[in-house]
Symmetry: C2
DNA sequence: TGTATGCGCTATGTATACAATAACTGGGAG
DNA sequence: CTCCCAGTTATTGTATACATAGCGCATACA
């Protein structure tokens, strides 16, 4: 190669990891397919060492599976896998909410959460919600969940929640995306927002069990709606990454 | 090097990973200490590439922390980190028990669990329990937890529980070890066994909420006893790995 | 004497060469 | 015609060489 002008500001490992993840989520690499290191080297521009590091990280992340005889393949997920992953994240977020409530949170710490809540309230006043408002909602919702997780002040728990959310279909955003495919989207967003409101109230009043319960309910709502959305196969194109990765027959 | 007679049956990466983990847990590498790749190459016998792979995996596992400027250091844990990790695992195992109960488990699948239960019952008939019986108990207890996890039939959940148990102090065995330091060890083992009995009963009767609740109680018992054991600093030498890794001041 | 700057060394990130194994293909025999 | 074995090829696992960035120490100047 002549163009040895690599960008040193970000490591080749990270670049390869991002590029490969993108290839998986965009469908360039299909589930079950073995990933050729050589091919990955060509498409990512990095050399074999950083590519291999990226592959290991993606395996730990859950997007790849190690092949016993060597190498990696793209993992395939069933509908059950996906709903379990959402429920799993909800359970962990429930624990985070409980920790926050039991350990106490200052008003100052709760402020960003309340701002998020208010911003979403504002968006939901529109009927029907616009496309732009919807993408704002997705961002705000992700922020709300991240802030809530932080409130637990438990590094091990935060770490696990991050890991559980790494799978694209288990992230809070995926939850909202799935909802968007349904005709009842607006109502669902409103219910979700009510859950957010209750969890803040529970944390403020140091009601651990209630905070936990509502977050778990929040996740179950997501699971229910995901199932509904998947029944309407016509809506699947709204969830392209999901449709591509969900090929296992359960 | 002249002795180029490496064992090809297990990869150098795995060997390096095991060796480094052992060095961390045995205290050769101390928390906060930067891990030198060169030194790791010398002590493990593998070359830099597998050593680096092992370091990445140990980071994902949670034993190491990446240093922004490059390289890895041994992570330090606080008492809070450790009790949170145990509660975290208990929460996940609770979800596994719930899944098993709700989704139904055949008598044949439950059989190994019941055998485990009976074997532990047998051990606990000894008063006081002997050292050999105690190590059998540790093994049987770990097996019980692993079997229970499997019953959830949820690969994503099983994966997360394995990850949560990877940290040495969060594994079911650590729980028992911590207990062993207490004068009331025998009683605690009996209570733990009662939890095991109840969770099987709940799964058999498809009582998801009860199965979940008892597993969470099981974890809280572990947390409580760990705290008690840590109060008795004289007992800390019974938990050497724990004492070494737990240096963060919280 | 203290601080700042520059030089050198060491350790990490990256690239590539080499070795070994697993898969595939072609040919031969039953 | 099919199945099995062997050879070849391609791909992964491992080792090492090279480049670069960061860190420390020493020296010089204020």
């Amino acid at each position: 190669m002549a163009e040895r002008e690599v960008d040193r500001s970000v490591s080749q490992t990270v670049k390869a990891q991002l590029a490969l993840r993108d290839q998986i989520l965009s469908g360039t690499l299909r589930p079950g397919e073995r990933i050729s290191e050589l091919q990955a080297v060509e498409t990512t521009g990095a050399s074999r060492t950083p590519v291999r590091m990226a592959l290991v990280r993606l395996e730990e992340e859950g997007l790849l599976e190690a092949i016993p005889s060597g190498g990696f393949m793209v993992k395939a997920f069933s509908e059950r896998d996906i709903s379990d992953s959402i429920e799993l994240r909800g359970t962990l977020e429930g624990l985070a909410a409980r920790f926050a409530a039991e350990r106490g949170v200052s008003a100052r710490e709760l402020e960003p959460l309340k701002e998020c809540l208010a911003a979403i309230d504002e968006l939901l006043r529109q009927v029907p919600i616009s496309i732009e408002a919807f993408s704002s909602y997705v961002a705000l919702n992700a922020r709300f969940h991240a802030l809530l997780t932080e409130l637990s002040r438990s590094p091990p728990l935060i770490r696990q929640i991050d890991r559980a959310s790494a799978l694209p279909f288990a992230s809070p955003s995926a939850f909202v995306m799935a909802q968007s495919a349904l005709p009842e989207a607006q109502q669902i967003l409103i219910i979700g927002q009510e859950h957010h409101r209750v969890v803040i109230d529970a944390i403020e009043n140091r009601e651990g069990a209630r905070a936990e319960a509502v977050m778990r309910e929040h996740a179950r709502l997501a699971v229910r709606n995901l199932r509904l959305a998947l029944r309407n196969r016509t809506h699947l194109d709204l969830l392209p990454a999901l449709a591509r990765i969900m090929t296992a027959t359960d």
